[in-house]
Structures are given as structure tokens and as C-alpha cells.
Amino acid sequence: MTAHYSALLIVVPLVVAFMVTIAGWIDKRWCFPLSAAALLATFLASVGVLAEVQQNGVVEYFMAGWEPPVGINLRVDHLNGIVLVAIAAVALLNLLGTRPIVEKTYADRLGAFYTLYILLVTGLLGITATGDAFNLYVLIEIAALTGYALIGMGPGRASLSSLNYLFMGTVGASLYLLGVGYLYLATGTLNMVDLAARLPEIYDSRLVLSAFILCLAGLCLKMGFFPLHAWLPNAYAHAPSPVSSLVAPLVTKVMIYVMVRVMLTVFTPVFAFERLQLGGSMVWLAVIAIVAGSFLALSTRRLKRMLTFIIVAEVGYMVGGFWLGNRAGISGAILHIVNDAAMTFCVFLAAAAIQQRNEGETIDDLQGLFAKMPVTMAVFVVGGLSIIGVPPTCGFFSKWYLISGGLAAGHYGFVAALLFSSLINLVLFFRIFEIAFFEPFTDHHGGHGHGGEGVHGVAIEEAPLQMLVVMVTAAVMLFALGLYAGDIVEGFVTHVIPAGIL
């Protein structure tokens, strides 16, 4: 069975997704256990694949038994191995943690919710594991379509935001598809490794350049790279909280992985960095993204919206780090894919817990929350410190690699932008800590008449236990990822970067 781990990783959740739909019509109580079992199996399979990659190098799986380029293959190496584990872990933890909210909110359509949830995760895993450029598009469709549905179910303006996301996401995916079509026209193959083998002869062809631009533009749109981010804040902020804590950590990160994969494996650094000399301008765009994302985050007082703008800035970190084109920068970008998934999950889950207990969504509504929800706020603090980049949380280490990459490349604008963004994050999070810690709890809805009496009247009213356990696990993960950052880079990330890059 070990030979099939990489396939099981995708097949198990896919098959279970349809069973969950059926279970939803027979007995709703089966939906959650089935989903949890599927994601647990997926997580174990992803760890198994990673262990195999660690031992034997690249793991390949040929669908229908046909070797590429005839058939479609899954190809897991050190790069997507760790991304797969991150996706499976976040998806499983989020499923476990948000169960109380989901069962309360979607009691009448539980089967549909969990089916869409698992299909979204399947799509993301499939995008990450595949070795076929067209198959990647099909799975982007799955992940996007289920994402639109889940986001559109949120309260208030969620459906409008989801529609906007749908338009932009479709444009992005179509651009990527067009790029893949051009590549097929130029080479006659869709397999990534085969493409990389056939492209060098025709690097001068206009088709290849057009394909490159189309793919990159489409992916930038899908990952929310400033100024193509406009769909992101609304979609993620208005999404139902169990969904935003799944989508926000994973979707943009997976798209960044796709960019790294397409650049490293399909077009190869020779074309992307040396022939086109695109690195400098992409890094400057990333600098703009980081600065703009930070300012936008500063300009809003709504908690979830602020967090989404931080994501926009973080996308800039990773894109910039990758396009620095040196070893430290690319290591930082890849490490940050995993770290950012973990810390975004941590803060979004805490935000979900806060939003459930606390009505009102601005940061001014968080008054006295340390007294009311001590554990949740502690987790939020850890997540915040990691996003700021305080050691020993993981955020510090990826930022360290990114900054040393910037220094090595002599790109001081990028270094300055990273430091500036860290400072802004410091302001953002300490503003929240201050309000939540020092300002006394007031009942801002005024209904009960003990408003303004101070913290004495506040009873601890924590999130459900299940959610707390998951949140604390996520927070501990941030430290663990930080402490083992060196090992992750040594053990996995260095194998990814082609030897030509210093």
C-alpha cells in the first residue's frame, strides 16, 4: 500500500466526499466522523509520502498505469511534500476545531457543507501533488468552485464578495489555462517535466514568452498579489468563520506554491531568472505589495479585514523572496509558505472563536477580552507575535531567510519593506493587545445595564473546549516550526533549489 500513498492522499478524501453527501441524507450524525476520518487518513498518507521522499527522493505515481507524457502523474518531491503535509494538517485541525460552529450554523445542510469542505481540500492537495500542467488547472477549478460556494454562504455581503471572487478567480484560472494551451501548442505535451525538457530548444519562440506571461499573470491574480488583490479582502473577511480559517491559510499559499513550481520545474530558473531578467521588477512589485498591504491593514478597524490585508502583504513577502532568485530568498519563500499557513490559521481560528462569542467585528469590540477569553487571546497573541516575527516563533525564521536573501541580492528596498511591514504589524497587533488587555470590558450592546463597571463583572466565557484544544495545538505548532526551522530548511528546502542558484 505504501506505493499508493501519493494517490490515496487524493483518492480517499474524494471518495469520502461523495459518501458524506449520501450520509447527509440518511443520517447527519455520520457527516463529521466520516470527514474527520478521511482527513486524518489524508494527513497520515501525506506524512507517509514525505517520509518516503526523505528516504528515496522524488515519489512518482502514474495514474492508469501510464507513464508521462502519455498519462497523468503525481510527482511529490521535497517542495510539495511539505506543502502537502501543511495542507492536510491545517484542513484536519480546522475541521476538528470548527465543528461546534459548523453544526450550529449549517444544521440543515451539514452534508453539503462537509462535502464541499473536503472537495476543497482535495482540490488543494491535487494541485500540489500533480505533475501535469493541465491537471493542475482542473484541480484549481475544483478548489475554486467549492471555495466560492463556501464563502458565499457567509452572512451579509458574503454572496456579493463571493461573486466578485468568482469573476476574478475565473479570469485568473482562464489566463493560466490559456498559458498552458500555448505551451501545448509549442511543445505538444502537458507534463511538467516533459515540458521542461522540450522548452529549451524553443526559448526564443514568442509562444513561450506569451505562455510565461499568461501563466504568471493568472497565478498572480489567483494568489492575490497586489494590485490584483481586490477580490481577496472582501471574500476572506465576509466568509463564514469556519471557512475563512480554512481558505485564508491555504488557498493563496497553494497558489504561491504553484508559481514556485511552474517557475522552477516548467520554465526552469534558466528561463525565468537568467533569460528574462524579470527578478528585479517582480521584487519591486512585491515591495509595493508589502507596503500597500501594510498600509491597508492599518487603515481598517475591522479585525478580520485587517488580517486579510496582512495576507496581501505576506503574499508580497513570498513572491519577493522567490524572485530574489538566490538560495536564501527562495528558501525563505518556501519556508514561509508553510509558516504563513500555520500562523494565518492560528489567528483566523482565534478570530473565529472571538467572533462567535463577541458580537461586533471591529477591534474596539475586543475590550476586556483577555479577561473573558484568556486562552483564545493567548493563542491570538502567539499568532500575532509570529506574524510580527518575534523569535522563537516560526515567523521570525522565514523572515530572517527573506531578509538575508534580500541582503545577499543587494536588494535593500525589499529588506526595508520587510522591516517596515514588521513594524506596522507590531503596531497593528499591539493596538489589539492594548484594547483587549487594558481597556475594561464594556457591554457595548447596552442591554444588560452593567456596562462600564470594569473587569470585575466579566465571567470567563471561553470558546468550546474542542476549539480551544485545536487553537492551542496550532499555537504550539508555531513554536515547533520555529524551533525546527533549521531542520526543515536543511532537510527539505535545500533539496528543492536547483544547484545553479547560489
Binding site: V11, A64, V70, N135, L145, A149, R206
Partner: protein
Amino acid sequence: MRALALITVLMVGGLLFYGLPDFPDWGDPVSPASTHLSPFYIEQGAADTHAPNVVTAVLAYYRGYDTMFEAAVIFSAGLACFFLLRTFQQKSEETRLYRHIPTGVTLRIEEGGKTPAGSEEFEPIDSHWVPYDMIINMTCRLIVPFVQLFALYVIAHGHYSPGGGFQGGVLFGAAIILFAISHDLRSVFRRLQEKAVMFLSAVGVLIYAGTGVVCLVLGGNFLDYSFLAGMLGVDAVMARSHGILIIEIGVGLAVMAVMVMLYYNLSSAGRHDEGL
């Protein structure tokens, strides 16, 4: 904003034109697309799968993994529509029409009036009900079986001619929707409940993925139908051919059910009381 959009569109258009000079000539036999992989599919396809239609061989066998997810995309679309639109609360009753079955008298009950719901002698009718639609009814009743038969043919004949699960499933779904439009939503519900539709859509894709899992259990790779040979009692080539048929049936079921599910939810805004 409009200027910005125009500039973007012009830039994308310009990019598409920029690539144009390096396009292979139309129908060029030595273009990369016709020389790299296509010869293999054309020469081997029929021998490997016993399906003279190369497109079917590639879609359902060599690249069957893609097609499985395409079916899953369609399933997700149907499910998304259900998830977003379906409301289980009945709409606060406005004016309602009921027909007294023995006499054919139509009652119009204003908001707040007492409805004869539950009575055997009355049946609800749509608020924009057309009294005399016998010609439409009869015509559609005559057409529907033929459309369904043709749909089955398209699904089954995908190996030899253009067709297959997607096309056949759409035709089958269209037949049911035609019946729904010519009659009303309630008469379709009597024949095909919402639960059954959901069930069929999931089962359809499950047949596809499940076939893959069976191949995996029998020792092959996922979706390698030749490992079904022992179970089906045929040789490897025929096993692939049968495998393609099985997954086409699965796709057909799923697509049919999703078409109907989309119609149910869109036509009644998720309330499932009265349709178009």
C-alpha cells in the same frame, strides 16, 4: 475605471496577437502538437482500449484522472447550488391557487386565508398556471421517452462516435427538465425526488472514483482498468473498454442528476414549491 479595464483588455489582446507569428500553420502535420503525443494515441488508442474513438480513449482512459475531476467539478456545481439556494422554511404564503379535483373548480386563496392543504380533494397549482396546456403536455410526454432513449444511446455509443457520459447525461437531464417545464415541479417531484437526485449525483461520481479504487485494490494503479480483467472475465483490452463504459455511465448519472438539481433549485429559488 473603464479606461483601466479597456487598457487591460487591450494589453491581453496585444499579448495574444504577439504570440501569433509563431503559431504552427493550421492543420500543420509537423507541428509539435501533432508529432509528439498524438501519434501514440492515434496508433495505440484503439489497440489498447478497443475504442475506435480516440477522444474517448484519451479522455476516459489515458487521462481519465482529469475527467474524474471534471465530473467532480460538475458535482460541486450542483451541490454548490443546493448549498447556497435551498431554503427549508416555506415562504410566507401569498396568494395561492388550489384546484378541486372532482369538479375542476379553481380556488384562489388570499394571504392569510385558510388553505385546504392536506385535503385529498384539492391539489395546489402554480400561481401562473395556464389552464389549457394539453397540446404542450401531450407533445412533451411523447418526446421525453425518445430523448431519454437517445441519451442512453449517446452514453453507450461513446466508444464509437462523438458522445459519452457528459453529452448523454445532459440529454437525459434535459428530458427531465422538459417534462418539468411542460408540467409543473410537483409532478416531477413525484417521479424524481430531491433526495434521489442528490443521491444519484453522488453515486455517479462515486462509480467513477470507485472503479479507480477497485483497480487499486486489485493491484493496479488508480484507474488502470486492465486490472478489472479478472473480475469481468475478459482480457485486458476488453477490460479497459468495459472500464470506460462503466465510468461513462457514472458520469452520465452524475451529469443528469446535477442538471436536474440545478433546475430544481434555480427555478424555484431553492424553495421547491413551484417552478417555472
